[in-house]
């Protein structure tokens, strides 16, 4: 089996610089993390925000932009948390739902429901700067910005999260989970996952 037969192989070009930390503007940040202004709801948001992605546990659902909203009915004491899946078929959603219920029950909120919303559709642009840093430290190359909401052009260098080289090569467009692609660094030889732009 040779690597020639894999799809979409691209080689990163040394010298193509692209900042891997994207500073989302305030509007995007607000869209990515609509933390409630109301104090009671904000407290619930902050608890839910501690839940992590079961497959990439360095990221919280807040880092990911998966946590979409919290409503608290003062009269009944019922809590509704909204989350959105990264991919339509993502099996991590069920685990996140259970963990949110778990953490809120543990903090005295007995009536909790978690709603999964599809709109607006999740994008990697919602990943927080902090999340990107944690991802890179964990050894996964963070996603770059999407270009105008369209398909991301492949072939831009992906930076090796270990040595920082842009001289990297895609080995497989699909990695162990839908959100990742497999790369190898041509300089330090490290194989690594790249969190794909979506």
């Amino acid at each position: 089996m040779t690597s020639a037969s894999t799809l979409g192989e691209t080689r990163g070009h040394g010298g193509v610089e692209r900042g891997h930390i994207v500073h989302a503007d305030a509007v995007l940040e607000r869209q990515a993390r609509p933390r409630p202004l109301n104090e009671a709801e904000r407290a619930i948001w902050d608890l839910a925000a501690t839940v992590v992605d079961p497959e990439v546990p360095v990221l919280t659902i807040e880092d990911l932009g998966v946590l979409r909203g919290v409503t608290f009915a003062t009269a009944s004491g019922s809590v509704t948390v909204e989350i959105t899946p990264t991919y339509s078929g993502c099996p991590a959603v069920d685990a996140m739902r259970d963990d949110i219920v778990g953490v809120l029950h543990g903090n005295g909120y007995d009536d909790v429901s978690v709603k999964v919303v599809l709109a607006p559709a999740w994008t990697t642009d919602w990943l927080s700067d902090e999340g990107r840093t944690k991802l890179e430290e964990y050894g996964i190359a963070a996603p770059g910005p999407r270009r105008g909401g369209g398909t991301v052009s492949l072939g831009l260098g992906i930076r090796c999260p270990r040595c920082g080289s842009m001289h990297t090569r895609q080995l497989s467009r699909f990695g162990s989970t839908s959100c990742k692609a497999l790369y190898v660094c041509q300089r330090c030889q490290e194989p690594f996952d790249h969190f794909k732009e979506h």
């Binding site: 089996m1 040779t2 690597s3 020639a4 037969s5 894999t6 799809l7 192989e9 691209t10 080689r11 070009h13 193509v16 079961p54 497959e55 990439v56 546990p57 078929g89 993502c90 099996p91 991590a92 069920d94 685990a95 964990y138 050894g139 996964i140 492949l154 072939g155 270990r162 090569r169 080995l171 497989s172 699909f174 990695g175 162990s176 989970t177 839908s178 990742k180 497999l182 190898v184 330090c188 030889q189 490290e190 194989p191 996952d193």
Partner: protein, 345 residues
């Protein structure tokens, strides 16, 4: 790049060639220092040929296990009894393929080609975890594989996160996290069955009965009979002995079995206050040897399925190669451009 010398060294048997690589002994000194300080050895560092060989064997076996391990579960993707379970199972098998690819890449940093490793697998010359030579006759086996097999794999693999070889240790950190998610999913499958009808509970118990002992055997033979362990421990590739890990696993299982309401099929299991561990009964290693010797329930099927897929797909890979070659020729003139380049190898 792995140098040709390193590649040659990788095929040596006992470190005979080490001196050629490292006439002044500087490499060896540095290697010993890295181990002593619990640091990582990186692909570009000098390493003894036998260390390299041991790692290639271990990492490639691990990769093969992921690839062959797709089959017992792949067996149920088309029959999963709910769409949610179908999605979880598809995602899990995909994870395993992804781990296999990742580990093959890690092994490649030691100077072996993926083609060579894969050839060893499909010609039956490579080892993979014997657990995957058991069959999955019932849906509950999807639960048992997650809970017991992935659970045992995690116990085995968590210490490997500190393995001295950098690319392997770092890969294991991420793989272990994903495996933990798999174990949780397996546990949930069994829990749903145990909370279900009489038939479902019987299905779960019967499956746990079949998988319990083979899962315990995943840690390998008792320490007294484990030939490769000592050197691997000295090299910081292996961190705990087989029996230590097995004990750790049983200690983890017993309370979880209580939550599930399943009975572990070993009447000797009881808490030992003095040791601070659960005692458990002896395992029937003759069965293990049988499976290891190729007489397990599915030995013949596993490798041949992968080989058949590979052979049936030969024309596809040839086409992709031919296409890549043509593209490379066609784009030779415009190679200076910044456009993505197809790689022919």
């Amino acid at each position: 790049m792995v140098t040709p010398t390193a590649r040659a060294a990788a095929t040596e048997t006992g470190g005979v060639r080490d001196a050629d690589d490292d006439p002044q002994g500087d490499g060896r000194r540095r290697f010993e220092e890295l181990l002593a300080s619990e640091s990582r050895v990186e692909p570009t560092d000098w390493m003894p040929a036998a260390y390299r060989k041991t790692l290639i064997r271990q990492i490639s076996q691990h990769a093969h296990s992921e690839i062959i391990g797709m089959q017992p579960e792949g067996n149920w993707i088309t029959r999963a009894p709910s769409l949610k379970r179908k999605a979880i199972l598809m995602a899990k098998v995909q994870d395993e393929a992804g781990h296999g690819l990742y580990l093959y890449s890690a092994a490649q940093t030691l100077g072996i080609d993926r083609e060579e490793m894969f050839d060893q697998l499909i010609t039956g010359r490579a080892k993979y975890s014997s657990i995957f030579n058991y069959t999955t006759p019932t849906w509950a086996d999807m639960g048992s594989i997650g809970w017991l097999v992935d659970g045992a794999a995690i116990c085995n693999q968590v210490p490997l996160c500190r393995a001295s070889y950098g690319p392997y240790g770092r890969a294991m950190v991420r793989i272990c996290k994903e495996e933990s998610f798999h174990q949780r999913q397996g546990f949930e499958i069994l829990l749903a069955l145990m909370n279900g009808t009489e038939e479902q509970r019987a299905m779960a118990q019967e499956s746990v009965n079949r998988w319990y002992a083979p899962a315990l055997m995943m840690f390998g033979p008792p320490d007294a009979d484990s030939p490769n362990s000592q050197q691997s421990m000295a090299w910081n590739i292996k961190r705990f002995s087989n029996d230590e890990l097995r004990q750790r696993f049983v200690d983890m299982l017993v309370p979880q079995a209580e939550i599930l309401g399943v009975t572990l099929p070993d009447p000797a299991i009881r808490w030992n206050e003095e040791r601070g561990h659960y005692d458990f009964g002896d395992l029937d290693w003759t069965e293990f040897s049988e499976v290891l010797a190729g007489r397990g329930p599915a030995n013949a099927v596993r490798v041949s399925r992968r080989r058949t897929a590979h052979e049936n797909g030969a024309w596809v890979r040839e086409a992709a190669r031919a296409y890549a070659d043509k593209q490379a020729t066609a784009s030779a003139a415009s190679r200076a451009s910044a456009a993505p380049e197809k790689i022919a190898s």
